[in-house]
Subunit: 169 residues, 2 copies
């Protein structure tokens, strides 16, 4: 029996454990203490201890010396976190051009702390860029890439045409 209570907000750490377990379940079929400890970069006793907490909250099932398994609630939370993680990684690496490894690290921290509002709007922003009708990336984003690299704006070779677009005439 666990002592779960509804409003109880999960710590960043516990969310991370859930996320890692979800990844392992997906990649390897099962989540073992040793693998969790490797991905979380902690020693195995820390994992055992975390699993006890999570089991107590009804988010994982865990028999002594056995695998960890996400419950329905555990999955719900883990998938939410993973979704945010992916969105953030995409924003950082594909729009801000952050090295993927660094981007993943930053995403790992942001995924737990950002407000739902920010997540939502950032997600919309990524979508806005990705579903652009232009083939590669939107023109302005190419302009930003250039600005990132050189600190200078791309000179517009057709100001008149640009003005036309801007004024919508």
């Amino acid at each position: 029996m666990h002592t779960e209570s509804v409003g109880e907000k999960l710590s960043s750490n516990m969310e991370d454990y859930l996320e890692v377990i979800a990844i392992l379940e997906k990649d390897k079929g099962v989540a073992r203490v040793k693998d969790i400890s490797r991905l979380m970069k902690v020693k195995t006793p820390s994992v055992t201890s975390a699993l006890n907490v999570l089991a107590d909250k009804g988010l994982v099932e865990h028999e002594r010396y056995g695998y960890a398994e996400l419950t329905r609630n555990g999955k719900r939370i883990a998938y939410d976190v993973l979704k945010r993680h992916k969105m953030l990684t995409k924003f950082l690496s594909s729009i801000l051009k952050i090295d993927p490894h660094v981007a993943a690290g930053d995403a790992c921290k942001m995924e737990h702390t950002l407000s739902p509002e920010t997540c939502k709007n950032l997600s919309t922003f990524v979508e806005f860029v990705e579903t652009s009708s232009e083939v590669d990336r939107p023109l302005w984003l190419k302009g930003f890439d250039h600005y990132l690299k050189t600190g200078k704006r791309i000179q517009c070779k057709n100001k008149q045409a640009l003005e036309k677009v801007k004024s919508g005439k």
Copy 2:
């Protein structure tokens, strides 16, 4: 005498204390325990305890029953954090259109955890938007605002002109 050592990375919490002290020094001239406790939303004993830690690291000076004052090193760190805070707040509120209060909260968390790379590129992004030659906000950003509100893209009224701009002809 303090026990500062160079590589020692400051915790998010201690960075927050420095930031709050910097804000109070700027706003009120001096930083008092009570004001710090109010801004940090903790009780006064937590402040006393934090000040001891920070004094030990050579980041604040604090006489019993007196004010807290940032040292040169303390200021350096506090101003860095504040700079990131302002940049992040601007990004969230002015580009992502997050409610200022929520934006400030999110900035408070991100300011401690984002990698230097991400801070730098995000900062460049904000600058890229702000120094746009267009009067209000860049055209594409207006497009994003509309997309945020409606979920739909602004229809381009002059596709040919847009194509001309895109191809640079």
